[in-house]
């Protein structure tokens, strides 16, 4: 040995470390996305299709009148506004790790990422953000065109519209963490995609993707209100359109924070147990 490695210095894993890593991972993620721009565009459009179908159905139901459950009502322009905002917010909060994780656990592709001091969730989150940056540039013109064609009702509260931005950020992080926790079930079941399909169905219904939650009947509306799905789906959309009663804004944010904290806790528990379960087969 001609040279000796000096004793290692303790590294800091503070905000700068994560910022630096997210920046590098974003660059790589975007470079990869741009290699497959056509496939990425299709995935992006897929996120638009769900709300577009709901929009078509509900504007047809409303016709030139309104749809009401007694307590609240939506006309054609309000449905258009709701689902057009949902398109964008749904895109910003979408996550697909649960579709891929099973494969990564099965074939051992997760292993190289587990060997690094940065937990894989950060790399995957950065890739998620890169996808949204790349696809947004392609989808925004489509969205503007739809807005012009469908003539939706404008937001009624600027204050709530502004509050929808932090709410959207919370929703995106919350959905990502919950979806990642779900993805980690792949350490036990190799077909986590099936569990995710069930989650997606419930999420679409209770999160307001299929219909505005205000139109759900009594008990179902209450269930949706307290479920995590409203916090990560409909709530920021309702804020953007100014449809949240003023006394419900703060409780809405508190619910979001509670579900986010719950998601982080659930993820931590599942991750710690899942890693012990990992068999690193194939790699």
């Amino acid at each position: 040995m001609t040279e000796h490695v000096p004793p290692p210095t303790q590294m800091s894993y503070g905000p700068r470390y994560f910022l630096d890593n997210y920046r590098e991972q974003l660059k790589v993620g975007m470079a990869v996305m741009l290699q497959y721009r056509f496939a990425v565009l299709i995935w992006g459009v897929w996120g638009f299709v769900g709300p577009l179908v709901s929009l078509a159905v509900w504007t047809a139901v409303a016709g030139s009148g309104i749809v009401s459950n007694g307590a609240t009502s939506f006309n054609r322009a309000e449905f258009s506004a709701y689902f057009l905002v949902f398109m964008v917010f749904g895109h910003v909060t979408m996550s697909w790790d649960a579709f891929e994780y099973g494969m990564r656990v099965r074939n051992g592709a997760l292993s190289p990422h587990l060997l690094k001091p940065l937990e894989p969730i950060h790399r995957d989150a950065a890739q998620n953000i890169s996808f949204k940056v790349v696809t947004s540039s392609m989808l925004i013109p489509v969205w503007i065109l739809l807005w012009i064609l469908l003539k939706p009702a404008p937001p009624v509260s600027l204050e709530q519209a502004l509050l929808s931005i932090p709410s959207l950020a919370l929703a995106a992080v919350m959905r990502y963490v919950w979806q990642y926790a779900l993805a980690c079930l792949a350490f036990w079941t190799t077909r986590v995609e099936a569990v995710n399909q069930l989650w997606f169905a419930v999420d679409s219904f209770l999160g307001g993707r299929v219909a505005p939650l205000a139109l759900l009947p009594g008990w179902l509306g209450t269930l949706a209100y307290f479920s995590p799905f409203r916090s990560m789906g409909s709530f920021p959309v309702e804020l953007a359109l100014g449809r949240v009663p003023p006394d419900q804004v703060l409780p809405g944010f508190l619910l979001q924070l509670a579900w986010l904290a719950g998601g982080i806790l659930v993820f931590r528990v599942i991750w710690a147990a899942g890693i012990r379960q990992y068999s690193a087969v194939g790699a």
Binding site: P8, V32, P112, L114, L115, Y278
Partner: protein, 340 residues
Amino acid sequence: MSQISVTDLKKVFKVHEREAGTKASVKSLFFRKFKEVEAVKGVTFSLAPGEVVGFLGPNGAGKTTTLKMLSGLLYPSGGDARVMGHVPWKRDREFLRRISLVMGNRNQLVWDIPAQDSFEVNRAVYQIPEKQFRATLDELVELLDLSTLLKKPVRGLSLGERMKCELAAALLHRPEVLFLDEPTLGVDITMQGRIRDFIADYNRRHGATVILTSHYMADVTALCQRVVVIHHGSLLYDGDLSTLSDKIAPFKLVEVDLADPASAPRVADYGEVVEEQGAKVRLRVPRAETSATVARLLSELDVSDLTVQDPPIEEVIEQVFRVGIGEKPEVSDVIAEVAS
């Protein structure tokens, strides 16, 4: 103090099994049968800082499973291990920052972009100071001859080129412990030599501790003085490569040069004839009987020259590997096979 210490390390996998065919497939929907496979059955060894050790054994011996436990990828079923004082499977960031595992069949480089971009990601992940990063990269580019490869997308590189880039990615943060699992797998003979030289150089320059598994004996003989042989999850041998044959192969090769070629057939009475070329005969003689046999040969035959050798190490190891491919033999069976 040991850099790596392993005590009675075990790993048991629970594997779902069923018969072939539709009937068995339907049955398994309701009645799942699992069997336990003991991949590692309690191995114990340790490595000093800076040591390079060859970890040998046939396919399925438990080598890769052991390396995965030592690098924190797998949680063991029993036993204990410490790597630089860390319990690997706790996966402390400080531990992961100081090791690297290179797997010949698995890559960390991002497939669609140039290797240089993946290196930048590693710079951030391992918090390598910019100056050190550039210096290490320059050194790796020179030693591994990477200059023309860095800007090509990884998917466009040949297997050998990719392996060199993988090695560079794994060493950018200058790990103090390096686990190399088949680093020359599928690489041509020239590239194998370059990778071997590079690993030896890295060990010399940085005093890194290295555990290497390889099916290419040339890798092991070039890099390792010490080998650990594992077979069906159990430790078969731990010691000098040069004395491995004493333990595993209980015979010696005696080469006799006879003054009278006509007496060559009589040599068969002294041991198993391996080769006969005129007056020159090579014999395989049980190790314990070597001295007595040589004394008898010299006194009873007209011998002009005689040499005693250990069997070539490649032959010994290959015999161990070959036996491992068949049904589960016991250690004594392996030794018997090698001796035959």
